[in-house]
Subunit: 136 residues, 4 copies
């Protein structure tokens, strides 16, 4: 995976079962996606000046195991797939010392022409940028 | 749909694009699922005394259109499917005066024996309770 | 109080003690302040076209009693004070059937000229608008 | 200050003005307070086995300057005052390369006997533990 962040489970992440609530996981995943993009300001800058915006169109999260107060979580993120019309950021959350993810998620994104609002195919500068973030 | 709640988009729901951020949508969906259960404290009470816990194992969200500051949102929720091992809460978010959802989501849940940690089939008291929430 | 909203305590509002976490209270208070302004779009519109922005400069919250899962909360908000340079929104959170607030808060706001970034005294159109929201 | 954490401003932290929203700041401050306690699990363990709970009774936040998308924030926290009945955690948020805080906050806490619900004076094991966290 291209991005790894660590988050420790705090009291305000929990719900009535003492488990991390699904809303807090989506915050962790959002932070991790930003972290994935952090080293690629050059790519984001090219997209911006080209009037290209990226949007998430689907988020699909599998919850396998609960996490508890004080658990050290590791969130891994990377671009796992690039298709003609969309890309996928794959993410996993692991308890620090374990091999099996307690949660896995896919965020599907598309590109849009900011001026016309039309979807853009993954080609040219856009494709090159996404591939760079993917580490290809 | 069995539950309808209304939420007005506030400043703290937005991101850098002025759109409601995906994290905030997951908060709206969570609130709506609780609201779906509110009239069924009797069912929840039976499940609790029977040592049955419900857990969400998958959340799948499709984002179709952005929502903006001040937009009045309507969130509809209902149980759309009951299988042998799991059930699905289907949810849609609509701008109040529109027909087409800006977001649709499925939350898949399973039941577990709180004592043994084992998955429980959807049958007996459990199935009856879920069907009642589903309005069947 | 000029604005009253109701919020039911949900699982994701809690912390490890089973109490509503202070972060969630600040969300409730933010929602309640927006609700206070909702009937005054005319005032906000005048301020906006006059290039006047309102900013919160201080939030002071007293926590008296905890709230628990399922508690029905009532959040009251109103402008309690208008000084030469600032105003105060006073807020209280009560459990629905009780007289004594479990939380009280003051949010102090000031006005700024959006063009120059300078603080504006509470006078003229600005003062009239704030007084209208205060219900004077 | 005894605890320093860094948080980068993300899209979901913003409001309609493109500024970090006050709710998100309270999340940052909560995380920072947990971080302040992280090295002191021994103290927390002694308090827990003695049936002593710590609660925040007041949060007072001054907002001086806005923070924007991508701003690297540094959050400093430390115990600044210990009185007979309460203590204060003082916190400041700075943009990484600046000297002046954009936000400062005080969180006042008290101790309670978990069994009786009565407030406890800052003395004995309790006082010793708080002083240790304070770095005295």
């Amino acid at each position: 995976m291209k991005s790894v962040i660590e988050i420790k489970v705090r009291g305000d992440h929990l719900d009535q079962h003492g488990h991390v609530n699904n809303v807090r996981y989506t915050e962790f995943l959002e932070e991790a996606r930003y972290n994935l993009l952090d080293p690629h300001e050059d790519v984001l800058s090219v997209l911006k000046t080209s009037g290209i915006m990226l949007f998430i169109v689907n988020i699909n999260i599998n919850f396998s195991q609960p996490a508890f107060l004080g658990d050290p979580l590791r969130i891994e993120s990377g671009i796992s797939q690039i298709d003609r019309k969309s890309g996928i950021i794959h993410q996993r959350i692991l308890k620090n010392n374990r091999d099996k993810p307690i949660l896995s998620a896919d965020a599907t994104f598309v590109a849009m022409d900011a001026a016309t609002g039309k979807a853009l195919p993954m080609e040219g500068k856009l494709l090159a940028g996404i591939q760079k973030i993917a580490g290809e």
